[in-house]
Each structure stands twice: as C-alpha cells, then as structure tokens.
Symmetry: C2
Subunit: 629 residues, 2 copies
C-alpha cells in the first residue's frame, strides 16, 4: 500500500540556510524543515528513531550552522539520532543529497553512524563511549599542536552507563576545556520516562561534583542554546556540560505527549516508522511549525517534493520468538517463585511485559546499566534466586563480560537471554548486530549456549534452562518476525547436544547444519532449491552453540564427505568452528565448509544484508553446488 510522503529538496533548504535572517531564526526554521526530512527518511527506511531525532534537531542545527568552525567536530554518542544528524548534513550540503533516500540501505546511510560515511568522525550506537573517544581525539590534536573543539551529544538514558561516569573525572583532571558535552535531556529513554526507569537524581550537582562547568537551558530553543554555548566558549581549564532540556518527539503534539498509564507504560515513538495515517498527521503539524518558523525568520516557506513510499509487506503468521519467550517466562514465573527477571531498558523488546506486570516484586528494571544488572544477578543467584538477565545480545554479552565471568566462577545458575541477535535486522548496523556473542558466551565456564529456530523451540529452550539445566544458559533470540516453511519432527524434544533432521537428503550430498529461525529457513529453502537440481542435501537444525553430543555428531555425519555449517555470527567462535574442531578431535573424515561472517556485518535491508553475507538461500545453495562440484 504505497503512500505519498514529502521532503524538502536541497535547493529549497538552501533558501533557508542562506536566508538573510537572524542566525537564531534561520537555524530554528532549518531545524523545523529538517524534521520533515528526518521523518521522510525514517518512513522511507521503514525504521529509525523519531523521538530522539526530533528532540535534538535544534542542537544539531545550531552547532553545524553557527557554533562550529572547520577545526571543530561533532558527534552523537547515543548515535540513534543519526537520522537527525544526516538530515542536517544533507541540508547543509555536506552529504550527497540523494542519500536522503538511502537510510538503512546497503551502501546508504547506516542506522547508526559509521566513519565510512562522510562527516562521521566516529562509530556510535554503543552507548557511553563518547566522552572518552572525544578526549582521545583532542589529545591527538594537542600532541600535534592543532586546534579544534569537540561537541558531543549524549542521551539522558545513556547517563545510566557507568562508562560516562568513568570518563567524567579524568576529563576534568586533564582540563579538557576543548570538550563540550550536551545532554539531549528529553526525559524519555527506550521504554519510558527516565525517572521511572532509573532516576538520574540531580544531574547538575553530579556533573559539578566531577569538576565540570555546567549550564542548563531549553534545548529546543535556539536563542537559549546559542546563549548557553556562547557562555561556555569563555570557560577555561575545565570541560563543559550543557544540560539541554528537550522534548522527545518535539514538533508533533502526540509524540510530545506521553501518557505512561494509557500506553502500558511504553513511549510509542522511540523507534520505528509510523503508519501512513500517523505520518500524515505528523507531517501536517510539522508543516505548520515550519510555516510559523519561516514567518518568524522572514523566510518564504520552502516548496515540498513528493515521493512514493511503499512499506514492506508484513509476513503472514511469522514466528515471533521473543513473544514466545515472554509467554513461557510468564508461565514459568507462576510456577517458580525463585525466578527474578532483570532488564536493561528493553522490557518490550525482550518480551518482559507479562512477567513484569504479573510479578512486579520479582522484576528489576536496571536501566541501561548492564554491568550493574549482571552483578546484581550474581548477588541474587548467590542468595538462592534464579535470575534471568535481559538485553540485546550485542550489549548483554559484551559490556558486562567480566561480570558474567565473575558470576560463572561462583558456579551459580543464571539465565542470560539476549535478543536482537545475529545480522538481522540489518538496519541498525554493527553496534546492534550481535555477531560475537556465541564466541563470548561459549568460553564462559559452565555456560550452555542455545539458539531456538521457532516459537516452539524457544519455549523448550527456556523450559530446559529453567527446569532442567543445572548450570547457566545463554539463550540467543532472533528478534525479527520470521517466515517458517519447515517443521520440527513430530514429537521433537530439545535434547542437549543433539539436533533434528529437517530435510532428509542422501549420503553422497553435503550435510548442512543450521540454527535459529533465519538460517534454518534459508537452509531449508536452499535444500528445496538444490533438490530440484538433483542435489539431495540434508539439513539439520542444531540449536546448541557451545558444544555437541559427540556420538550424535559421529552418526549424523556418517560417511559423508562434506559438511556445511552456517553461522548467523562471525565464523570465529561460531557453531561451525565448534563443530569442525569437534570433528577433527573425533577424527571424522568429512571436510568442513563454514559459511558465516568474516568481518563486520553490513547495514542494510534484511534481504540485502543476508545476500551480502552469502547467507540467503541462494548463497547457501551456491556454496553447496560449489562443494559438490
């Protein structure tokens, strides 16, 4: 169902940028115009972060139009406001304007900033790193005797990350007055109000206690912003913090309002595109705002350009593993009073709403504080509880790596459930594509790693982890809705170390190992394609990632000459490497072929990314044909 969207062309924007108007009025109008382009980009991509992009547009506009000179640089540490940054840079002619239509596409503008894109000075999207990275950049300039100021934008939810506070004092001690940090203090983080998630306390007092110069202003008011920044320019010998009070979803009345009670506590416009109807309403409001801003600046209203947007067709009856996980979690929570669920500001994305509402005492919202969450889980486990720890796989298995190991040395039982794993969705980019987590979790002593391929197996995996496994488990969950054309064998039961044949081939054709909904589906499609070409490959779903039943492996490989493994992960440390190494230890004669990532994952539409890495059905079938040949 295509619909018409609107954006403002480079030329029409130039009439604002170069208008003979007071700088503040010009920037305010530019920010309003940019909201229209920003929303277009997100709608065209089908995903992206509206709320935080809209809250930051006056800040980004003023910095790039007036505050910074050619030696200065800006980046956003939170990174998910990339659509706003791109929009500003496109509008100022610093990015090729055709990229307006390429958000989250392969070769286009990544979902989070990447230095491969013009004007991007560092990769962000992983939270909390901005102050330290900027300090490194400034230190380099000091060593070279080069001038240059850094402007770094933080999110307020991001302030829950310990690294922020780790960086504050050394930056003050080093008198990094070249650095101005701006907090886009829009008061709402991924799920809900910051104050309800993990209240930040008195930010001004805190930052001052760490030796920073602190000012505060309305961050959507260009006059206030420009005044605050002008004041900070004169401050010497200490780093500078501007707390910019902003409004999430700024510019659209229904995005600005957040009635936590009415929405089940969840802010609706953190991430994702909106429906065509909602888009139309938002555009009308943004247009009115721009009209006002142009009038105040004495600039003619710019012309709009129309463009067709065709939203992706939703899958019919897709598999939703996270939802299945959530249902089972709720069920088990009723049976086992020792279960305590911990979350890091992803209550919806991790499937925890049901448990949270049913067992509020046993639900701990930790905020974006993965190290704190994992160590708290360790304490709970030492005191007789069964903690279940949640975040996206890319954060859960990396940020608290030492804490997970520490817990493991205590030989307690903890369940880690990482969602958004693997290379899909491809839109957010490498900060959110969890492609090292199998490697990281497999080498934790006593940890069993499992990735289910469908809703049914997800429920089995959680049931097994809670009720059967005496040790700790890492459950790896793909988050995207997935098509499923395969069936698990009748009466299938999850059995440690063993898998199930989904496509029964012949012994003279390769054996293909897959796991998870993405690869299992693609492998089965490849097998069907190959069968039509006379190659009868066998496809096995093996959900176990950290080890395999050796006898079962010996039997399933049998006399086959060739085995193909598939990894929705880097080859290094993935299931394929584990299986190949096991085969070499067992002295199986088969030759192993391993498909998976060899470097950083690509950003793009799901089909683009899957094909790019050779992990779609065509790529898999092609590899099998090459093996057979």
């Amino acid at each position: 169902m295509a619909y018409t969207a609107k954006y403002i062309s480079r030329e029409a924007l130039a009439d604002i940028v170069f208008a003979d108007a007071p700088a503040q009025r010009r920037a305010a109008a530019f920010a309003e115009a940019s909201r229209i382009n920003c929303l277009y980009m997100i709608q065209n991509a089908g995903s992206g972060h509206i709320g935080t992009s809209f809250s930051s547009l006056e800040i980004m506009s003023w910095l790039h139009m007036e505050e910074m000179d050619e030696n200065d640089f800006f980046f956003s540490s939170k990174g998910h406001d990339a659509p706003a940054l791109y929009t500003v840079l496109l509008g100022l002619g610093r990015l090729p304007f055709e990229k307006l239509h390429q958000l989250r596409r392969l070769g286009g503008l990544p979902g989070h900033p990447d230095v491969g894109t013009e004007c991007m000075v560092t990769n962000t999207g992983s939270l909390g790193m901005g102050i330290a990275k900027a300090r490194g950049m400034i230190k380099a300039r000091r060593l070279d005797g080069r001038p240059g100021r850094a402007f770094v934008l933080l999110g307020d939810g991001e302030l829950e990350e310990g690294q922020i506070w780790e960086s504050l004092q050394p930056t003050a001690n080093g008198e990094y007055s070249e650095l101005t940090v701006i907090v886009d203090h829009n008061k709402i983080q991924s799920d809900t109000w910051v104050s309800d998630t993990s209240d930040l306390g008195d930010l001004e007092t805190k930052f001052r206690a760490f030796g920073w110069e602190v000012v505060r202003c309305d961050g959507n008011d260009v006059d206030a912003l420009s005044g605050a920044l002008a004041y900070l320019r004169g401050v010497e010998a200490r780093p500078k913090m501007l707390i910019a009070d902003t409004i999430k979803g700024r510019g659209v009345s229904f995005m600005e309002r957040f009635d936590a009670e009415a929405t089940g506590g969840l802010y609706a416009y953190h991430s994702g595109a909106v429906s065509p109807e909602v888009y139309a309403k938002a555009l009308a409001e943004l247009t009115a705002n721009l009209t006002t801003a142009c009038a105040e600046a004495g600039i003619p209203m710019p012309a709009f350009t129309e463009a067709e947007i065709t939203p992706a067709t939703p899958l019919e009856n897709p598999q939703k593993l996270v939802a299945a996980y959530g249902r089972k979690l709720l069920e088990l929570g009723g049976e086992r009073e020792d279960m305590v669920v911990l979350d890091a500001d992803l209550v919806l994305d991790c499937g925890l709403l049901g448990f949270r509402d049913a067992f509020p005492d046993r639900f701990v919202e930790c905020g974006i504080a993965e190290q704190d969450m994992v160590s708290m889980a360790g304490g709970l486990a030492l005191s007789g509880k069964l903690p279940l720890v949640h975040s996206f796989g890319c954060f859960l298995t990396t940020r608290p790596g030492e804490q997970i190991f520490n817990n493991a040395t205590e030989k307690t039982k903890i369940i880690y459930a990482g969602s958004l794993v693997g290379i899909l969705p491809g839109g957010p980019g490498h900060s959110h594509q969890s492609v090292r987590d199998i490697a990281l979790m497999s080498c934790v002593p006593g940890m069993t790693c499992v990735e289910p391929c469908c809703e049914a197996e997800t429920e089995m995996a959680l049931e097994w982890a809670v009720q059967a496994n005496p040790g700790s488990t890492y459950i790896r969950l793909v988050s995207i809705p997935c098509p499923k054309s395969f069936e698990l064998p009748a009466g299938y039961r999850l059995t440690p170390g063993k898998g199930a044949v989904l496509r029964e081939g012949k012994a003279d054709a390769p054996l293909v190992f897959a796991y998870g909904p993405v690869l299992t589906e693609q492998a089965c499609r490849a097998a069907d394609q190959l069968a039509a070409q006379g190659i009868d490959a066998t496809v096995v779903n093996l959900p176990w990632l950290s080890g395999v039943d050796e006898q079962w492996l010996r039997e399933i490989v049998g006399t086959r000459d060739n085995v193909l493994t598939l990894d929705n992960h880097l080859l290094k440390g993935g299931q394929g490497e584990m299986l190949a190494a096991t085969a070499a230890r067992l002295g199986l004669g088969a030759r192993f072929h391993c498909l998976g990532l060899t470097g950083k994952p690509a950003c793009g539409r799901n089909d683009e990314v899957l094909a790019h890495h050779g992990l779609d059905a065509n790529g898999i079938a092609g590899r099998v044909r090459a093996i057979v040949a």
Copy 2:
C-alpha cells in the same frame, strides 16, 4: 635460605578476642595481632597484598567482632585484601586455623576470595562489582522477608571503575539502607598515589550527589570507626557510605611512608612478599604496636609461635617478556612519534616505565578505567595516532569488550598488550588468570592475536605489530619469569601464521603445537622425556592464536596421524580449537587432541596449578603416550 617467621596461634588470639576489655580496645589489639599473622601468611605464600591488607584491618576486625550479627554479611569488593580478611576470620575461629599456612596454595586460601572458602559470600578481585552484588543479595533477602545488612569494602583506586558509579544511583533509588559501603581510602593504588593516577575529586560531594548518606572518619581508629558505624545504623531510606581514611601499609613505618620521588614514583608494598631482612624489621614494629595495644586494652601480650619459611629459589637468567616488551616499546617510541601509550594503573607490571619517562606527553595514565582507556585509544587512532593499550589480560579483554569491538568497526589500528595472561602466576586466582582472552580477542574483526615464547620473540611481535601489521594486534604476554631450555631456530623471523620447529621428531609420532614461554618450555621438556622413551614427538612453537597459514599447516602436519595442541587458556576459543577447525576445513586427515582448561582455573603455587591442569611436562608427555598407545 630459610628464615624464621612468627605468628600468633588461635589459642593466643582467643585471649584477645575474649578478653574482658572495652570492645574498641579489644578490637584494636586484635587488629594489631592480625597484622602479624597477615604478614606471616603473605611471607609464607611468597606473594600477597600487604599494603591494602594492613590499611583495612581495623575495619574488618570491628565489623566481625562487634558490628555484625548473624544475619549480616561482609565482603571486600577489591578482594586483594583477602589476607587481612582471612586473618580476621582465622583469629575468630571461623576458618580452620591450619589454613593460616595455606595462602595461595592448591586447596588452600585463594589469593582473592572465592565462595569455595568458608565465610566467603562472593568472588571478588575483579573490581567494581561489589555494590551491585550486594544489592542483589539484599533484594533476595527482601523477597524472602529475611533480615540482614551488607557491609562492602571498596578500595579508593577501585572508585575509578565506572561500574561503581553505575551502581550508586540505582542503589539509592531502591533505598537500599541495608547496605553500608566502606571505602578503604588509603590514598595509594597499585602503582602510586591515587591523586597522581586519576584524582578522585571531592568524594563526599560526589557520593551525596548520588543520594547516599555519607560520613567520614579515621579508618585505622577503632573508636572513630565504631562511632561512624553507630551513627549510620540509625540512617533510614538511603544507602550508606563511610569514607574511612586509612594508611596503606599501616603499622610499619617504612610501609606507611611513600616518597614517590625517591622510588621512581612506585609504592613498594602494594603486592608481593618482602625480603627476610625487611620482614624482620616489619615484625619488630608490628610487635611493638601490639604491645602498646595490649597494654591499652589491659590484655597480656600473646605468645608468638615460630615457623620456618623457605622462599622459592629464583630462576637463573629467566626470560622476562614484559621487560623485553618495555625495552622494545621504548626503542620504537623513539622512532615513531605517533605512538601513544595508555595504561590502567599497571605501569610497572606492563613494562611502561621506560616509555613513560622518555615520552611523558605520549603516555596517558588512565587509572583503573579500562573502558575509558580503550575508547580514548579509539579516539586517538581516529585522529592519526597509534595507541598501545595496556592492562592485565583478564581486565583488558573483558571489561572493555564492547569498546574494543566499537574501535574495530572503525578499522583503525590499535595495539592491545595484555600481560599476566594464562594460568600462571597461579596465586592470585581466577579473577587474575586470563584464560578467555584468546577467545574474546580472536573474534574481534581485523584483530590478530599473538603470544611470544621468549624475550626475542616478544620484541619481534611488538615490532611486527607496530611496523608491519596494517591492522590491530593483541599481544599476549606471560608475566612470570620463565625458564627456557629451547632455542628458536637460527635466523628465526616472526612470520604471520607460521611457526617454528623446536624439537624435530618423526612422522610416526605426534606433532605438538605450543605457544608462549610456559607451554613451549613444558612441551620441549616433555619431548625430551618422550625421546628418552623412544617416542620422537615434534614440537612446534606457533605464536599465532587467531589464525594459521593454511599451506604451512598442511605441510607441518603432513602425514601425521595425531596432533596435540596445548592451550594456556580454556579449550573453548583457544589455539587448539582454531587449529582443529582449520584442519577439518582443509580436510587434513590427522586426529586432533587438545590439552587446555575445561573450567575455571585453579589457584595455587605455579607448579601445583600447572600440574593440576595437566599442562606440565609430565602431563603433556602422559597425553602423548596415551595417544601413541
């Protein structure tokens, strides 16, 4: 050269513990007596942390003797003051007294706390986790309706870790008044003054800004301590912070004094036993202190028990890889002005003194802030510098795991040098034994991992990483002085992916892969032992951990039926798994046998630990014999 040491027996200590004296005077005398036993333990073990143990003894004594009841619990988050804690618990009869003689021995008292030991409530030694773990324990008690207060001791250097600050606000938000945190504020961290390493600023203001109740007192004065804790008992609805101003090395005049200039800036009594002569002087002072304390308490001076201590015989001309690294670093630093060295409070242990003193502008002391350090390195690399990042392998590769990946996605060049890798020294225990670092670093896109086997290869590895490798490198350095009975081939040059034959065996005997000074030495000794028994095993030193030259592997394996790999690391993710998987992909016929760790590393004397894990020459030779049989 054995010498006589002294300790105070359980019975003699009981006379203090149960003396009819004011509680404060009794605790003060007990603390002084405990210093004598603590020093004995460390001298007997040959290693341990004197300074921080001595600074904390009044705190630990008062808590355990008077403040806590049976529902309360204590642990030290810094953990390296374990000798002090053990001493107190031994003296109070809560640990079997014979363990006084078993510090850092296999089956004895680990170098850092482990829940396998009586009274230890959590594993520490990895810094920064204490507040979060305690909160988990209290949460569990709240859920169970059980009473219980937590007392957690932090180090002041530990306050540089971001996780501390990440935990502070949620703990206040949850009104965890059951928790009292005590900072053993002895002002000196691993290397030198905290204020010179990474000044903490105004701690009281900071903690108050995070919503904590804060008091401060002399932490070596039992009257002051007991008063402060009595006050905190009455505080409700907020967690409590006691900043205890203590003196590192308290009780021994020359350990209390720290003249940074005279010592090259390094505090001498952070870790390690002292010479018999220094021990004698320290004991004399501690005895005098105890005499005074007993007199003030009206308690008779306890009797001392004598024990012989035989220090380990130092190796003749051992290989010191970290020193070699430091020499080469200094040399290269003179050639390459883009090199910037970053350290996390381990300037001596990472071999950085020479570079620091020669190029102070290009040396950045980050304090115990590994995430901050790694992201700062990322910023430096983006701005044209070549950062070299240092810490112990166990911290460097785990705490900043997400930061390292983020840097890698920018495709800059950074050198990470982790020392203290592998299972030796065995004394500090699992918090310090880096046995996952190969797995963690191998799966970082673009990272090459290398572990040199001797001083010469260390210099080659650094030279290669700086001058030849276009990408990033992880250099894995064993820190203990190592014997070396093997020789690299004449004219040996480090060649990516390839190794060198150190013992030329026969094709009908197994091929043994080793790397690093510990395993290479043990493998060569095993080969010599086996040769005498008619088994001519080949030993290859392969320093490359993350990949291997496939053609070279094919040739060196040749027609051999059996290959034995050795890992000073967990089997999972180690070199052996990489080699076995490569062999399976190449279709080599050989069967792979892999020796390495399968679970958490043991704590003990080096020879004990090596034998325990089957990685000494006897264990290796035994495995080869089993293969041949």
